[in-house]
């Protein structure tokens, strides 16, 4: 019973980090139609800046989280304004451009911070474990689950209950009509892109509590993010959440019970879902 509960919580916490990574990408890809492969690199960049603030400068952890998000958001915004904006609907070029940025950002991080991986770090107040009805579980992981849940609710509200969300969804379906209605789609796009990039960097520092930060993360988290949006479906927060939790839980139980087949499980789930439902579990058709 203890094993089951622990594994479930392991899966949820792992899944929540995956959700934080994938949420931003899912919005950008599904709603704005932009493939941004540098999303994982933004995660990593946020993580490194967060590390610098929290560990190097010894400042407050939550400030580090915010700075990480801010830096990633600004860099993401720069990439969008200076480059991606001119590549509207050109998928090939977007892929090549953003992959180029993965190389660039990864190498700069390697240059500045070196190849040594940064060991996981967190708010000192969160050291130790909570006692959940007899089960002792690390505080940092519970916080990750909590933050992920709050963010999921917020993003869902943004997507479905606000004007901004409606504009974006409409803009994806019919750009001309939306601009014809006098709505400044470009400005809204900018805002959403910044938000998505901010979440990536924010996730980088939150995730650092469990994973630390290292130069390989740019590609690794991209891989995770792609797997999740495949499974959960593109373009919706609920899709990213569903995909992330499924993968997280399958991975946690899979690794514990059949460790030799760890990565294989993830890919298998991915393929099965793609065959059964090509647009993912909860995706919108594009």
């Amino acid at each position: 019973m203890e094993f089951f509960a622990t594994s479930l919580l392991n899966g949820l916490s792992f899944g929540m980090i995956l959700f934080l990574i994938a949420a931003g990408l899912s919005i950008i890809v599904g709603v704005m139609g932009i493939i941004n492969l540098s999303h994982g690199a933004l995660y990593m960049l946020g993580g490194y800046f967060g590390w610098m603030i929290a560990q190097r400068l010894g400042l407050n952890f939550w400030l580090a989280v915010f700075i990480g998000g801010l830096v990633a958001g600004l860099v993401g915004l720069f990439i969008e304004r200076a480059f991606l904006r001119r590549l509207y609907k050109q998928m090939n070029e977007q892929v090549l451009l953003t992959f180029g940025f993965v190389y660039i950002i990864t190498n700069i991080c390697l240059w500045v911070w070196g190849g040594d991986a940064k060991v996981p770090f967190w708010d000192p107040a969160l050291s130790g474990s909570f006692n959940l009805a007899g089960l002792l579980y690390p505080k940092t992981r519970i916080i990750v689950i909590a933050i992920g849940t709050v963010l999921a609710v917020f993003l869902w509200w943004l997507q479905n209950k606000t004007r901004v969300g409606a504009i974006i969804r409409a803009g994806m379906d019919d750009r001309e009509m939306v601009t014809g209605l006098g709505i400044n789609l470009a400005r809204v796009s900018m805002l959403i892109f910044f938000l998505a990039a901010f979440i990536a960097g924010f996730a980088g520092v939150i995730g650092a509590q469990l994973w630390g930060v290292y130069s390989y993360q740019g590609l690794q988290t991209l891989l995770f993010a792609l797997i999740i949006i495949i499974v959960g479906g593109i373009g919706s927060i609920q899709g990213a959440l569903a995909g992330a939790l499924i993968i997280g839980i399958v991975d946690a139980f899979g690794r514990a019970l059949f460790p030799q087949l760890s990565m294989f499980f993830m890919f298998l789930v991915m393929i099965i879902i793609l065959i059964a439902k090509p647009s993912g579990l909860l995706g919108r058709k594009i």
Partner: protein
């Protein structure tokens, strides 16, 4: 009198000779440099030709048919592993057995995966092909058959090292230089074959599908069949590239199935120009050599250069460097041929 002499030459220049001149020049360069170059440059030139074959085959699906695949590593890797496993487990080194097998296996895989991946388009096609690439990667990683076992029975090396040059003519062993010419010949043959394919009605139909699939369907084409065949053919060429790569690299490993390899022919096609046949080949040479030269000169910073080139080429040479060079050549020809273009 003088005018007549120049007239004749000028007409030649404007005509077929002028058109083929770039090929002749490039061909001469490709043929002579290896003679003077050291084995590592030969290695890189052979590598770029292997990737050129891979990229040209890939471009049949990507540039011509308009399908963004991120999973051609499956076919490339299949060709490489076919060659490797034949040598490692069955000790068969003959080119005449290895190459057909490489092509057969990769085309068979495309025939099997085709119905699955072609169910989706656009973004989902991208993701699905990517997914299969990673799946094959993880299978190759864990399968004992596809690796070298240690004395303790565990997998010591993922993938097969120690691949040697194939036996082409019994009794004659290939050297670094002769192997290069062998690859070059293979590349030329593939180029000619692809030229035939892309300039045939089939090839034109693919372009039509890229432009507007509904229109083609309205005209009575079974577009799904065309896409399927294109996938299988492109897989075959990818398998050839994979076999060439395996011999040249002396090793094949699971990463050659995955996105890190699948991504390369796409990059090469875009940089070189995905609307032409030779574009991906030019892209292959550019990417291979930039990566190598940058890595030697700037060592740890070369990914920065490569990434920078991707960004620059997307923003400033949108149609592809190959196309840009082709247009340049046309201008030269027109100017010196004095034709009214």
């Amino acid at each position: 009198m003088e005018k007549d002499k120049w007239e004749g030459i000028r007409r030649l220049w404007q005509g077929r000779l002028g058109q083929f001149a770039p090929f002749i020049i490039v061909g001469l360069i490709l043929l002579t440099i290896p003679h003077f170059a050291h084995a590592d440059i030969q290695l890189m030139m052979a590598k770029s030709l292997a990737f050129a074959t891979f990229a040209m085959g890939y471009n049949l699906v990507f540039g011509y048919t308009g399908l963004l695949s991120l999973g051609h590593g499956v076919y490339f890797g299949a060709g490489g592993y076919a060659v490797a496993l034949l040598q490692y487990h069955l000790h068969i080194y003959s080119f005449w057995m290895a190459m057909p097998l490489a092509v057969a296996v990769s085309m068979l895989l495309a025939a099997i995966l085709g119905p699955i991946v072609l169910r989706s388009t656009g973004m989902y096609f991208l993701l699905l092909t990517f997914a299969f690439g990673e799946l094959f990667y993880s299978i190759a990683w864990q399968t004992k058959f596809m690796g070298v076992l240690s004395v303790a029975g565990q997998i010591a090396v993922r993938g097969i090292p120690g691949i040697v040059y194939p036996d082409v003519i019994p009794g004659i062993e290939l050297t670094s230089t002769t192997f290069y010419y062998f690859i070059f010949t293979g590349f030329v043959i593939c180029y000619i074959l692809l030229y035939r394919i892309t300039n045939s009605p089939f090839g034109h139909a693919l372009v039509g599908i890229r432009e507007s699939e509904p229109r083609m369907q309205a005209l009575g084409y079974h577009t799904w069949r065309y896409k399927y065949i294109a996938l299988i053919v492109s897989a075959g060429f990818s398998g050839v590239g994979g076999a060439m790569f395996a011999w040249n690299n002396a090793m094949i490993d699971p990463s050659h199935f995955a996105v890190g390899t699948s991504f390369l022919p796409m990059v090469m096609s875009i940089i070189g120009g995905s609307t032409t046949l030779f574009g991906p080949a030019i892209g292959a040479v550019i990417v291979t050599f930039v990566e190598y030269l940058a890595s030697i000169t700037i060592r740890a910073r070369w990914p920065l250069i490569l990434g920078g080139i991707f960004v620059v080429s997307v923003m400033f040479a949108r149609a592809g460097i190959g196309v840009y060079l082709a247009r340049l050549w046309e201008k030269v020809r027109v100017r010196y041929g004095n034709t009214k273009s």
